[in-house]
């Protein structure tokens, strides 16, 4: 995997007798922004979970570079916003080693990485804010900063625009566009108007996966109702 750092090899996953996804066979290029689109229940979240390692395929395999470590941004936040933690503390957790090392303190380099990531997502000055003092859009930026601070090459975002107003969605996608040179970014979203214009490749997911080298081609097909 030199040019591509994510490979789905004829993947199938079923919940009991109901198959959520089958014949998913495509590759994602390093340093690209790829969008997963498709109807509700089509298998987008299942594919994201397979990619993140939360699910194991019934058939086929998912190959992810760097031993499968990814920067994952969940659909909801996956955490309680009353947790006593500051922006800096959250982003620092992104720099933690996979291997549990006793008495591990954050090094100066890890602090620097976290500060750079915070600045990159436009939250400089928010370092000491508690998680409960942030808006939905700011929280999304914090979890993206955490993923940026990690050594993960791949950033996976499941419905990052859910519960955000239009301005926050535009800002978020602009941020992803700015970041795509440094990471491989994969986004599952319904918001095709915004994201298809900035993405490099797209995958249409409805029980099976269809890869589009040109996202505009998918946009046209969706507009014409040629694929549902």
């Amino acid at each position: 995997m030199t040019e591509n750092n994510v490979k789905f090899n004829d993947v199938r996953y079923c919940y009991g007798e109901v198959c959520a996804i089958h014949n998913a066979d495509f590759e994602i290029k390093r340093g690209s922004l790829t969008i997963f689109v498709g109807p509700n229940g089509g298998g987008k979240s299942t594919l994201i979970k397979l990619l993140s390692g939360f699910l194991k395929p019934d058939k086929g395999s998912v190959d992810v570079e760097n031993n499968g470590a990814i920067g994952y941004v969940a659909q909801g936040f996956g955490f309680d916003d009353s947790f006593p933690i500051t922006v800096k503390e959250i982003v620092l957790t992104g720099t933690l080693d996979k291997k549990i090392l006793p008495f591990k303190k954050y090094s100066k380099e890890q602090h620097k990485k976290a500060e750079e990531a915070i600045e990159k997502v436009g939250l400089k000055g928010f370092e000491k804010r508690g998680v409960s003092q942030l808006s939905g859009g700011q929280l999304k930026r914090v979890v993206i900063a955490r993923a940026l601070a990690s050594d993960a090459e791949i950033l996976v975002l499941d419905e990052p625009d859910s519960n955000l107003d239009i301005e926050a969605v535009k800002d978020l996608y602009q941020l992803l566009k700015d970041l795509k040179d440094s990471k491989t970014i994969i986004v599952a979203s319904h918001n095709i108007d915004f994201i298809l214009d900035i993405s490099d490749t797209a995958v249409y997911i409805n029980k099976t996966a269809r890869f589009f080298e040109n996202p505009q081609e998918l946009k046209e097909k969706l507009k014409e109702g040629m694929i549902i």
Partner: protein, 290 residues
């Protein structure tokens, strides 16, 4: 009181026990609250009564029996919570009552006079012996060491377990430690406030700390000091008014918690109203200028 501390060994033991229990409360309480395991902790505390009864019946130190049952109950709930067919909450409820029933059965089977169980049920900080202090100190040291050793991993696990899993961090080890440290911590606290009142001492100091601090480390450290304040105040009240210490600690801390949370929400409401009033004034002024 100062004289009593210098003159009486039981007062010195009580103070040391209060400090040790507070360290446990700060750590275990924060973990249980953030992982939403307070009800489970209540179940484990009550299940331990079965082991205490077994100790009386078979003639060994009851607290060791309590520890055995608490760890066993915790392991059972931990395994069941990963099996979707049975809800951990349901099992917690069952173990809660089953442990109490077993304890009563074992005590009834114990030959001779029925022992007084009040100190196990409601705690008695003033009757703590030297050997109990050693017992508490050893387990408090283990809990403190594990917490400090893996501090940054506790944060990632407690805050966002899914993210830790996606990063391929071995959360299984940390999860296993949670289900080991909580029962051990509960057994340490039982000598202070008893089985029935343990969960209040685990929850109140952390809940108060969360009203004022936004950082994990500050919440844990301040929980330790808040718990110390409650335990020593409860001890003082108990010494002077001759009411069981566990009861004094919990009643006092609950009142303080209620007053502080009410005062804080009233203050926030006032600040919000002032801000709204200021914004309205600004808007009116702008409209007037136009």
């Amino acid at each position: 009181m100062i004289n009593a501390i210098f003159n009486y060994t039981f007062m010195q033991n009580a103070l040391i026990a209060a400090v040790l229990a507070s360290i446990v409360t700060g750590i275990i309480g924060t973990i249980a609250i953030e992982k939403k395991l307070i009800s489970m902790s209540g179940g484990i505390a009550h299940a331990s009564f079965g082991g205490i009864g077994l100790g009386y019946w078979l003639g060994f130190e009851p607290i060791w029996g309590g520890l055995l049952f608490a760890v066993g109950a915790s392991a059972l709930i931990s395994n069941i919570s990963q099996n979707k067919k049975i809800k951990a909450d349901t099992l917690t409820g069952i173990l809660w009552s089953f442990g109490m029933a077993l304890g009563i059965l074992f005590i009834a089977l114990t030959p001779g006079y029925m022992p007084d169980m009040t100190s196990y049920l409601f705690g008695d900080i003033l009757s703590i012996s030297k050997s109990s202090i050693v017992f508490m100190a050893v387990f408090t040291a283990i809990i403190l060491l594990l917490f400090v050793m893996l501090y940054n991993y506790w944060i990632i696990y407690l805050f966002d377990e899914d993210y830790a899993k996606a990063r391929k961090i071995n959360v299984g080890i940390i999860r296993a430690l949670v289900y080991l440290m909580i029962p051990v911590g509960i057994i340490v606290l039982i000598r202070i406030v008893g089985i029935i009142l343990t969960i209040a001492l685990m929850s109140i100091p952390t809940s108060i700390a969360k009203l004022f601090f936004k950082s994990f480390g500050k919440v844990v450290v301040s929980s330790v000091f808040i718990s110390m304040f409650f335990c020593i105040s409860g001890l003082l009240i108990s010494y002077y008014v001759n009411i069981p210490s566990g009861v004094c600690i919990i009643l006092f801390s609950t009142v303080v918690y209620l007053v502080l949370s009410f005062a804080r929400s009233a203050m926030q409401k006032r600040l919000h109203n002032r801000k709204m009033h200021h914004m309205n004034n600004c808007e009116n002024e702008l409209a007037h200028r136009k």
